[in-house]
């Protein structure tokens, strides 16, 4: 239902433009940061800061990508196990077939795009519910990764080995052994690029259009199917990029893991203002939302809670975020 009162509509929209929810999320991030810093001296250290970032890159990247299918009103549950699968395959080629590292990385990302394409086709062309499609590809990628590498953990080249340069993509070591988290730069660039794509290109415009009113978009002459597929390709590709971030940070990649990563990414996106029913959302919002989750995940152990608590808290925060969405909508109807 549209807001009947013109002036009320105006104020609401200007608040929206300031990014009401984003602002609140930003406050939460700052609050959490201060809280953890006060509670634990260790948290205040520079090395902790760097390691928080290390553990965040891959989730942030997944979150940027999954924002697109979420905005179409769908979801991509395959990104978590997919990430591990792509990383395993890329690492396997590098370690056992002596493929150059850059080529291995390329394969990793393209594999992600391919699974994204598969998801998109099943959703857009065959009309299968997105959660079901991606639940299946989630399992398939999990099995596939293990089978391809033969069930063993894969180690991408370490920093001192030849080809280890790729680990410096996210973290530079200086001569005095101080780490510089240059991964931030890439994340910021990608966030800016994808923000641009979402807000200023046809791809983004039609992604929102599909989530907002698919039929109206189709009647306006938009090739709805192609753009629907593309949303999943973007999500898959970013899962591939996340796989590289993951490989660069962790020494070995274990087959069979990765389940649950997708929830952190999707949860972050929804906390950051992506509507669970599609149509609304921003890349910067997803970034902020996912930072909340990463902070909780890395901060909780510093105040004596195991990381397991974070799983509970993520689940509850996700439900809470959607509930707020539901309440808002109910109010609008009234």
């Amino acid at each position: 239902m549209a807001n009947r009162n013109g002036t009320a509509g105006k104020t609401k929209s200007s608040l929206d433009r300031l990014g009401g929810q984003k602002f609140v999320v930003l406050l939460v991030i700052v609050g959490l940061f201060i809280f953890f810093s006060l509670m634990s001296p260790n948290f205040r250290k520079y090395t902790t800061f760097v390691s928080i970032l290390d553990y965040s890159y891959y989730i942030v990247l997944m979150s940027i990508g999954v924002t697109f299918p979420l905005i179409t009103g769908g979801v991509d549950l395959s990104i978590g196990t997919g990430l591990i699968c792509y990383s395993l395959v890329g690492g396997y080629l590098i370690s056992f077939y002596h493929v150059p590292v850059w080529a291995g990385m390329l394969v990793t990302v393209l594999f992600g795009s391919a699974i994204g394409l598969l998801n998109g086709c099943l959703v857009a062309l065959m009309d299968i519910p997105p959660f079901l499609v991606t639940l299946c590809t989630c399992m398939i990628t999990r099995g596939l990764g293990s089978i391809i590498v033969g069930g063993f953990g894969i180690t991408w080249p370490t920093a001192i080995q030849p080809g280890g340069w790729f680990r410096n993509i996210f973290k530079l070591s200086t001569a005095s052994n101080t780490k510089i988290p240059i991964g931030i730069i890439w994340v910021v660039i990608l966030v800016l690029v994808m923000s641009f794509v979402l807000n200023h290109t046809k791809v983004g415009r039609y992604t929102i259009g599909i989530g907002s009113n698919k039929e109206a978009a189709r009647l306006s002459g938009v090739n709805v199917k192609a753009y629907h597929i593309l949303a999943y390709v973007i999500s898959g590709t970013f899962a591939g990029l996340a796989a590289i971030a993951y490989s660069a940070v962790f020494s070995t990649v274990q087959p069979g893991t990765g389940a649950g990563f997708e929830l952190e990414a999707i949860g972050g996106a929804i906390i950051g203002g992506v509507s669970a029913s599609g149509g609304a959302g921003t890349v910067t919002g997803s970034l902020l939302g996912v930072l909340v989750i990463c902070l909780l995940k890395t901060g909780l152990p510093f105040i004596g809670l195991t990381a397991n608590w974070q799983q509970n808290i993520t689940g509850l925060v996700l439900i809470g975020a959607v509930m707020i969405d539901v309440i808002k909508k109910r109010r609008e109807v009234k």
Binding site: A2, N3, G6, T201, G209, G211
Partner: protein, 498 residues
């Protein structure tokens, strides 16, 4: 008024079993607002769908700007310059106004969308229309009226030469209608041809230059608006058809008790201060044009939609109805106008549908007594003469009329004393219609009280003991069947509201 821009001549269109358009003519000139009028189902929408390429005509010619044309889809019509502003809005609520207007044909600057240019163009359009809308505003933040203006702007941005307005004022407030008229007059100034479909007589007088009236799929005539009266138009709309056995007097016995009393019911814009009474054994017809608020009233009484205020009395006692559950408890049954969506569960059997509202009575401990269920369902199949091989038949396999009987059986099984029939014969063929009518008469004579919402004048005059007429969410009059005529009803249904 300028030269003729569009001529439709001898347009004929049949659907299986229905002759929807029978050699209809329409002529529109540049710089004119041409009203298209007729009762519900007169064929106005079909004619417009033929014009814009949604339907293909069986015969007849369409001449546009001197050339004979034939459109195969809305796109082709749009490109030629004929656009339609629909009653239901086709908007993407999450996008901005300008983004909506130009969706599917965005301006681009390299790979980026040139939002700045789109905003400028949209602003230009709005200036041309003299509307004050911010092109960067999010669509869902606009009022329905403003959204409609955006649809019009979108239509004009297609370089339209003929614009069809399909009941544009139905959802607008008075002030918004004034604004709409200002825009339409401006468009007329700019020598566009405008076809205006509306039920509101007062609007027709104010805004249009000529009016073409249709009835039952045929062309009745074209009048110059300033030279005719409201009664002239009404007479053309209702015609002089002889209806099958209209009721001449009320069949309700003197002093029948009031079973349902509704007082000052309010629910949104479509139900304003509705009050009426329903007697035992009475068929109360609810007449009015499409969008008069009759279905909304019924749904509010039944608790299907929330209401703001109002009291409902059943058998003299005040009752609280907040959900269909409450309504059913008080013996009210509702047969929706949209059977498939709100009436039946198509993938289930007749027996299962029949007992849906009364399952409790068919329980043996925790088990459903299928034997009893089938027996009762069979009983209703027999007494309502539902045509089916058996009660275990899936409802999806039944015809419309028989599906309706299953819904009726559901409420009869519940022993509901108050039945609301919302368009009971929509989409049902003639033979089955008569059966439903007989059934309703029988139910009334057995002491059930019936509210019948119908858009068919024949049905109203044939079935009702008393008629309530609604217009714009308000009750505008009440007629006893003895004094009711088509003209009187139409007059109330199109009453000017000042």
């Amino acid at each position: 008024m300028g030269e003729v821009i569009l001529t439709m001549k001898g347009i004929d269109k049949s659907f299986p079993g229905v002759h929807a358009l029978d050699h209809v003519d329409l002529e529109v000139r540049r710089g004119e607002v041409h009203a298209l009028m007729g009762e519900n189902g007169a064929g106005k929408s079909t004619l417009m769908k033929v014009l814009t390429g949604i339907y293909t005509k069986d015969s007849g010619t369409i001449t546009f700007e001197g050339k004979e044309v034939e459109f195969h889809n809305t796109r082709e019509a749009q490109e030629a310059g004929i656009v339609i502003v629909h009653q239901e809005l086709n908007m993407l609520g999450h996008l901005t106004v300008a983004q909506n207007i130009f969706i599917g044909r965005e301006f681009k600057k390299g790979i980026a969308i040139d939002d700045k240019k789109m905003n400028e163009e949209a602003a230009k359009l709005f200036r041309r229309l003299n509307i004050d809308i911010d092109p960067t505003e999010t669509m869902s933040n606009l009022t329905v009226g403003k959204q409609q203006m955006c649809e019009i702007a979108k239509a004009i941005s297609h370089e339209a030469k003929v614009i069809v307005f399909d009941e544009p004022s139905a959802a607008l407030t008075e002030a918004e209608i004034d604004e709409l008229f200002k825009i339409i007059r401006d468009l007329r100034e700019q020598q566009l041809g405008i076809i205006y479909i509306s039920h509101r007589m007062d609007e027709i007088k104010v805004i249009t230059d000529r009016v073409t009236v249709m009835r039952d799929g045929t062309y009745v005539g074209t009048l110059i608006t300033s030279q005719c009266t409201k009664n002239d138009i009404i007479n053309m709309m209702v015609g002089r058809v002889i209806y099958e056995d209209p009721k001449t007097k009320s069949m309700v016995p003197e002093g029948a008790p009031v079973v349902l009393r509704v007082e000052n019911l309010n629910a949104g814009k479509m139900v304003q201060n509705v009050s009426f009474q329903l007697h035992k054994g009475e068929i109360l017809g609810f007449s009015g044009l499409m969008g008069a608020g009759r279905t909304e009233t019924a749904r509010a009484i039944f608790g299907a939609d929330p209401k703001q205020s109002g009291d409902i009395y059943v058998n003299g006692e005040k009752v609280v109805i907040n959900s269909p559950e409450d309504a059913v408890k008080h013996g009210i049954g509702y047969l929706s106008e949209d059977r498939k969506r709100f009436g039946i569960v198509v993938q289930k059997t007749i027996a299962e549908n029949t007992t849906l509202a009364t399952l409790k009575e068919f329980l043996n401990g925790i088990f459903i007594n299928k034997k009893k269920e089938n027996q009762v369902a069979q009983q209703y199949v027999d007494s309502l003469a539902t045509k089916t091989p058996g009660v275990d038949q899936l409802v999806v396999n039944l015809s419309g009329g028989n599906q309706q009987k299953v819904v009726i059986a559901k409420w009869l099984a519940r022993n509901s004393d108050i039945l609301i029939f919302d368009e009971p014969t929509r989409g049902i063929d003639v033979g089955a219609k008569n059966e439903i009518y007989k059934l309703m008469n029988r139910l009334a004579s057995e002491g059930k009280a019936i509210i019948m919402i119908s858009s068919e004048m024949t049905e109203i005059l044939r079935m009702s003991d008393r008629i309530v007429v609604m217009c714009e969410g308000k009750i505008t009059g009440e007629l006893d069947i003895a004094e009711a005529t088509q003209e009187k009803i139409m007059n109330l249904a199109t009453r000017e509201i000042s």
